[in-house]
Symmetry: none
Subunit: 417 residues, 2 copies
């Protein structure tokens, strides 16, 4: 079964609001094997809603609408659906009474305008709203199903759960969508894809087909795998095998196959080894340590860090030799190494990390342009220093630098596994 999700409301076409209901609806539909093919947001314009709904019924056999079920003239979903399905709108006395008693319970009189909420396209089944006045509606039209849900999440959610459980789940054959996300860092999207595509390209024709989407996010690449399977056990088996195949061609650049962020992966490695860490941050300005400490329980392994934005603090706080800075410059491999050594010694940790670079937008030179970043990682048994060239805004250079530092530590800690 394929679905379209339509959100109705002019406020969702302003720069201030976004339709988030569709995320929950997608998750619940996917879980019973319904694929979402299209999402649309329409304003309070009945002609445009009619056009969009007509289009949706061509693409999908299920249309889920949210919003536009309120009592005002702006609320046009009922009318739009009635026109598309070519049915008259009838006033249902039972709904009027239920809205009236809802008002009465609060000691209020129902305004006449709320009668609009009792107008129902002929043949619709009314879905009870436990948290508001707008009832939902369920309509069948040939092979197609149209569900109308209210916009406010607390009214929409319980109604959605009921519709899924009582009406939609029994109609699906038991096939569902299951997902897995691989996260990768340190390589370009095109490089990843040229290695991965020959592998995942084979999967769509398997007994349990898996589709793959590649997604480049700042400082990392994600591969989203979606299996269509009769049950979770079959999906898990197929997805585990698929993940292993991808790991085979992508190697150690895959840092997570279970949704963990890089700071969580690194934190788990540190905790597993019983190691502690300290960082000397110049270019990242605290971001590296902030990301490490975003992880609950990170106080077990993060001891301390120093943000040394001035040369003086590099020298006085971290014992970086002044001559080293004079000779090589603050952004250089020897200085990054001395920063990592210095903070490791002062904090008494197993791991010391040093990051120095030019975050921009100012401060670049021909020899060391903006985005030049040097990372050093020193552990009890190993030391590595690497120079990177990043691109983007100041914040993006900082983010990629923190990402690179954590990834270097990860690779050093997993090299012997």
């Amino acid at each position: 079964m394929n679905a379209c999700i339509v959100a109705v409301g002019s406020e969702l076409l302003t720069p201030f609001r976004i339709d988030t209901n569709s995320l929950l609806i997608t998750e619940r539909l996917n879980a019973i094997g319904v694929d979402v093919r299209l999402k649309a947001v329409v304003g309070d314009d009945v002609d445009e809603l009619v056009q969009v709904l007509t289009q949706c019924l061509r693409v999908a056999d299920l249309v889920v609408c949210t919003g536009g079920l309120g009592p005002t003239e702006d609320d046009i979903t009922r009318e739009g659906v009635a026109r598309v399905l070519d049915r008259p709108l009838d006033l249902q006395d039972a709904i009027v009474e239920s809205i009236r008693s809802r008002f009465a319970k609060r000691g209020m009189t129902m305004p006449d305008i709320n009668k609009r909420q009792a107008m129902v396209p002929r043949g619709a089944t009314v879905l009870e709203n436990v948290n508001g006045t707008a009832p939902g509606l369920w309509l069948e039209h040939g092979q197609a199903r149209v569900v109308l849900l209210p916009g406010p999440p607390r009214e929409m959610t319980p109604m959605l759960e009921t519709v899924i459980r009582e009406r939609l789940a029994p109609m699906t054959a038991g096939v569902a969508l299951f997902r897995r996300v691989l996260r990768i860092t340190g390589r370009a999207e095109s490089d990843i894809d040229s290695r991965a595509q020959p592998v995942y390209g084979q999967w769509t024709s398997r007994p349990i087909p898996i589709t793959t989407t590649i997604l480049a996010v700042l400082g990392q690449i994600e591969l989203h795998l979606t299996a269509v399977a009769p049950n979770r056990a079959a999906a898990d088996e197929a997805l585990e095998a698929a993940v292993a195949e991808l790991q085979g061609v992508l190697g150690s650049s895959v840092y997570s196959t279970d949704g963990r962020q890089l700071e969580v992966v690194v934190g788990d490695l540190l905790r597993g080894a019983g190691w502690t860490v300290a960082a000397a941050e110049s270019c990242t300005g605290g971001l590296l340590t902030s990301r490490l400490t975003d992880v609950p329980g990170s106080s077990d392994y993060v001891v301390a860090s120093v943000v040394c934005y001035s040369n003086r603090t590099k020298v006085e706080w971290l014992n970086v030799p002044e001559e080293l800075i004079a000779e090589h410059g603050a952004v250089s491999e020897p200085v990054a190494r001395a920063m990592a050594d210095g903070v490791r010694a002062r904090a008494g940790t197993n791991v010391g990390m040093g990051v120095t670079g030019i975050a921009g937008p100012g401060g670049g030179s021909a020899e060391k342009p903006v985005g030049t970043v040097v990372v050093a990682v020193v552990t009890d048994s190993d030391a590595r220093v690497k120079t990177f060239q990043f691109f983007g805004s100041r914040e993006q250079v900082k983010y990629q630098s923190a990402q690179a530092a954590m990834n270097m530590l990860r690779l050093m800690m997993t090299a012997h596994v």
Copy 2:
């Protein structure tokens, strides 16, 4: 002029991702008087994209597409648009060369697959991508305009600005939407709204009507003012007056009326005073200094910071008396004050900030529950210490703590103005 915005990408039809590009695009289009009538999200399916685009061209004279311009087979926007507009796709050598040289600059060879990004529907104008390999495209088709922009925001945004300025703004005339954002911190949404509503409630019936939306974001409240005016000068006059009225009732809790973030406001104050700053961060784990150093040029006033996650580093690095921690606990006003004093003395700065607290989810007690945070700010002439109770996840507590620390410094530095 009416517009539709279409986001292309199967990942945007999963429960994990949402199209946020359309918010910025809407804002920029509104600013030149273009109304957004419809937003759609389509997966990587060229037939469905063709159907949606056909529909959009019926509703609107401008279609803005984002995403699907990458080099892989998933990237189907170019092909979909070519089919809808009935034009062949041509390989443009100039684009191949520009992508090749972009790879070469990074010391890499362009993979063959990237040639797909140089396929262009005949008659299209190529829009330069300063931050990536995917060029944008501008197409005219009768009265209609179709704009293709890449999906990643950092690639999309500069291209959008250029298209608006050079192509779309000259085509529009007359009444436009103008906006202003007030940012407020340190007060609850309901408190702000009960003060502001009697003021902004008057504005909708004025000659230049202004509508107001209140938006609660983590650690701050935003008031979005939208004026409908024949030109910028008239809008500016009306909006300036409106902003002044709101400042009258909201006072010093308004930290910005010109879009500046709190870290920029604080940075401008420090630079204006010729002051330097250092921070001792426990609970925020580096986030406070990271946000301060997100601002270009912040090395002028940020000297150094210490993330002191262990008590030992508080004592050894910042001279916090051991007895103070033993007597009051690490999360206490005396310790926060000693941290601020200690880092200020060690770094030799005008301002010292200390943040200590329980970010959670573990570590809370009945007396000091999760979210208890103490902030101390010491300057050349003043010192303040304050205990806060925040709510939310670990990351949310960190963010609100950094926000509170910067706001304390802002209020101390503006008290005498």
